[in-house]
C-alpha cells in the first residue's frame, strides 16, 4: 500500500500542492488523472522520491520514502519519468540490465541476466535487444524504458505518462502490457494518464487530481460519469456507453 499523509509541496507563491491524503491499495493498476498542472506528476515523482516534500509523509509498503535509504527503496519501488533523453548510446539489453543495479550493483549474475531476458521478452523486445536505443522508434524506446523498471523487480511501479507521444496502437499495446504487469507479475502499477478513456478502460482505480488536491478516488464505474468528469476537468463531459465500456466524450 502507498500512503500519502498531509503531503505538501510549495512552488513559488500561489502554486502549491496539498495537503494530500491518499491511500493506494496493493495490486492492480491505479491511474492518476486530472487537468494540466493539477499536480499528478508532482505527486508521482514525490512518491518515487525523485522530488522532496515540504511537509507530510509518504510511505510505500511501510517504508517512509524520505527516510529509507535510496538503495533499499530501489528494491521496493521503481519510477519512470516522462522525459527520458539519454545521450549515452546503450543497447536495449544494456539499458534493461541497469534495472538490476539495486540488486547487483553492476556485476550481473546469471540470475540477473535471466531477469533481464524475461523483462525484455515480456515487452516483446526480444528481436531488438542488441539494437541501440537511438535506432528504435518512440514506441519501442518507451517499451525499453518500461522493461528497465520491470527488471528492477519492485513490488511498486510508478510511471509518469507512459503513453506520451505514442500513437493509438502503441498506447493500447502499452496499456495491455501494464495490465499484464499487474495481473501476471502481481505488481502494483501507478500511472499518470492524460486520456481519461484509457484510464476508464484499463485501470482498476482512478484517482482524480485537481488544483493540487485529490478530488475523487474510486473505481472506473464511479469516476466515469459525466457529472464527476465535468467537475474534475472543468469542461462539459458526457459519458456514453461504448461497445467496450463507458466512453467520455468531451469534444
Amino acid at each position: 500500500m502507498i500512503t500519502l499523509s498531509g503531503v505538501r509541496k510549495e512552488y513559488s507563491g500561489e502554486v502549491a500542492i496539498g495537503p494530500v491524503d491518499l491511500r493506494i491499495p496493493r495490486g492492480g493498476v491505479t491511474a492518476l488523472v486530472g487537468p494540466n498542472g493539477a499536480g499528478k506528476s508532482t505527486l508521482l515523482t514525490m512518491t518515487g522520491r525523485l522530488l522532496g516534500l515540504d511537509a507530510g509523509v509518504i510511505e510505500i509498503a511501510g517504508h517512509d520514502v524520505a527516510r529509507t535509504p535510496s538503495k533499499d527503496l530501489a528494491k521496493v519501488v521503481s519510477v519512470l519519468r516522462q522525459e527520458n533523453h539519454f545521450v549515452t548510446r546503450l543497447t536495449v539489453r544494456q539499458l534493461v540490465a541497469f534495472g538490476r543495479f539495486p540488486h547487483s550493483r553492476g556485476r550481473l549474475t546469471a540470475a540477473d541476466e535471466e531477469v533481464v531476458s524475461r523483462a525484455i521478452d515480456f515487452l516483446d523486445l526480444g528481436g531488438l535487444e542488441n539494437r541501440y536505443l537511438d535506432q528504435l522508434s518512440g514506441g519501442q524506446r518507451q517499451r525499453a524504458y518500461v522493461a528497465m523498471v520491470l527488471s528492477q523487480e519492485t513490488e511498486y511501479v510508478l510511471l509518469d505518462e507512459p503513453l506520451n507521444n505514442l500513437d493509438m496502437r502503441h498506447s493500447a499495446q502499452m496499456m495491455r502490457h501494464l495490465r499484464r504487469v499487474a495481473e501476471e507479475l502481481e505488481r502494483t502499477v501507478v500511472v499518470v494518464l492524460h486520456d481519461i478513456n484509457f484510464a476508464g478502460h484499463y485501470a482498476d482505480r482512478i484517482c482524480a487530481v485537481k488544483d493540487g488536491a485529490v478530488v475523487e478516488f474510486g473505481t472506473p464505474e464511479e469516476i466515469m460519469t459525466g457529472e464527476v468528469l465535468t467537475r474534475v476537468f472543468e469542461t462539459p463531459v458526457t459519458v456514453v456507453d461504448g461497445p467496450r465500456g463507458p466512453l467520455a466524450v468531451y469534444y
Partner: protein, 328 residues
C-alpha cells in the same frame, strides 16, 4: 547457444580481452616502442646511450601513456556526468583552473615542491569543475552546444586571471611554457608523481557502472538507488586529480578527452566498463602519435604536442559537430 532458452549470456564479463582489443594493444604497444627509440640522441651508439635512454626516453614514454590514458578517461567521465558529448577538461575550464592553482602556489610559495604545486592544481581543478557542474544543474541547458561554449568562456576568464597574475608577478614566461603542453621536459626525477593518475584510472574502472548509471541522468540514477550527488563528487574528484597532475607535469593537452571517447562511442556504444580499455588505448595512441609528429616535423627541434593535438582535435571536433547536425 546450446541451451534451449535463446538467452544471450552475460555479454559483459569476459569481454575485456577479445581479439580486437589485443590487436589494438599491439598497435599502441608498437607506437610506444617507436616513441622510445625516436630522438636526436643516439641511444645505441653513444657511450652514455643507455643512461640517456633511462633519463629521458623512458620517462617521456611512460608520461605519454599515463597522460594519454588519464585525459581520455577524464573526458569520458565528464561527458557522462554532464550528459553532454562536447565536454572535457579543456572545454569546461578544468585545465585553466588547474593552471591557476599551479600559479597561485608558485606565487605564494616560491620554490614549492612539485607535490605542493600538484596539490594546488588538483584543488583548483576540483573547485572549478564543481562550479561548472553546479552552474549546469542550475540552468539545465538543453542545447548541447551551449555547454562547451560556456565552459570555454569560463576557461578563458580563468586563464585571463592567470595571465594577469603572471604579469604582475613576472611569471608570464613560466605560464607560457606551461600552457603549451609538451613532453620535452619530462625527465627522470620529475615525472614520477604522474603515476598518481594510474590510481585514478583504476578508481574509474572500479566505479565504471556507477558512472554509466549517472550518465542516464539524476532521476534514473536515483530510481535504481544510486546516490547521484556522491557519484558526481567522486567523478569530479578523479577528473581533478587526473587533470591537475597531468597539467603540472605535462601541461595542457587540448581536445584529447573530447575526441577519444566520442570515437569509441561511435563504434562501440557507451557501455563504460567495456569501453574503458579502448578509451585508454586510443588516448595513449593519439597522444603518442601526436608527440611523435611533434618530435620529427622540425627535427632536431620539437613542436609542443599541444599544438599538434589542437590541430587534430579541432578538425575532429568540427567533424563531430557536422555529424551531430546530420543526426538531428
Amino acid at each position: 547457444m546450446t541451451t534451449e532458452t535463446p538467452v544471450p549470456q552475460a555479454r559483459r564479463g569476459g569481454r575485456l580481452l577479445d581479439g580486437k582489443l589485443l590487436v589494438g594493444t599491439a598497435v599502441v604497444g608498437a607506437l610506444v616502442v617507436l616513441s622510445l627509440f625516436t630522438g636526436v640522441y643516439d641511444v645505441f651508439g653513444a657511450d652514455d646511450g643507455g643512461e640517456m635512454f633511462a633519463i629521458t626516453r623512458v620517462p617521456r614514454t611512460v608520461a605519454l601513456v599515463l597522460a594519454g590514458a588519464a585525459m581520455a578517461m577524464s573526458g569520458l567521465v565528464m561527458q557522462l556526468l554532464t550528459q553532454n558529448r562536447f565536454v572535457e577538461p579543456t572545454t569546461t575550464g578544468t585545465t585553466e583552473w588547474a593552471g591557476l592553482g599551479l600559479l597561485t602556489v608558485m606565487v605564494l610559495v616560491p620554490g614549492a615542491s612539485i607535490g605542493a604545486r600538484m596539490l594546488g592544481a588538483v584543488l583548483a581543478a576540483f573547485v572549478g569543475t564543481m562550479v561548472f557542474f553546479l552552474f549546469l544543474r542550475r540552468v539545465t541547458l538543453r542545447s548541447s552546444l551551449v555547454v562547451p561554449i560556456i565552459g570555454i568562456m569560463l576557461g578563458a576568464v580563468v586563464s585571463a586571471v592567470s595571465t594577469f597574475v603572471a604579469l604582475q608577478t613576472d611569471m608570464l614566461q613560466n605560464l607560457g611554457v606551461w600552457f603549451a603542453g609538451s613532453f620535452t621536459s619530462v625527465l627522470r626525477g620529475q615525472y614520477e608523481l604522474l603515476w598518481i593518475v594510474a590510481l585514478a584510472a583504476v578508481a574509474v574502472f572500479v566505479a565504471a557502472d556507477r558512472f554509466t548509471v549517472a550518465g542516464l541522468g539524476e532521476e534514473v540514477a536515483t530510481n535504481v538507488g544510486l546516490d547521484y550527488g556522491r557519484v558526481v563528487l567522486l567523478g569530479t574528484g578523479l577528473i581533478a586529480v587526473a587533470t591537475g597532475v597531468v597539467t603540472v607535469v605535462v601541461g595542457n593537452l587540448p581536445f584529447l578527452g573530447l575526441i577519444v571517447p566520442n570515437v569509441v562511442s561511435m563504434f562501440r556504444g557507451d557501455d563504460l566498463r567495456g569501453n574503458l580499455p579502448w578509451v585508454c588505448l586510443l588516448g595513449v595512441g593519439t597522444v603518442t602519435v601526436c608527440d611523435l609528429i611533434g618530435r620529427v616535423v622540425i627535427m632536431p627541434f620539437e613542436v609542443p604536442v599541444s599544438l599538434i593535438l589542437g590541430v587534430v582535435g579541432a578538425a575532429v571536433f568540427v567533424l563531430l559537430l557536422l555529424r551531430q547536425r546530420r543526426h538531428g
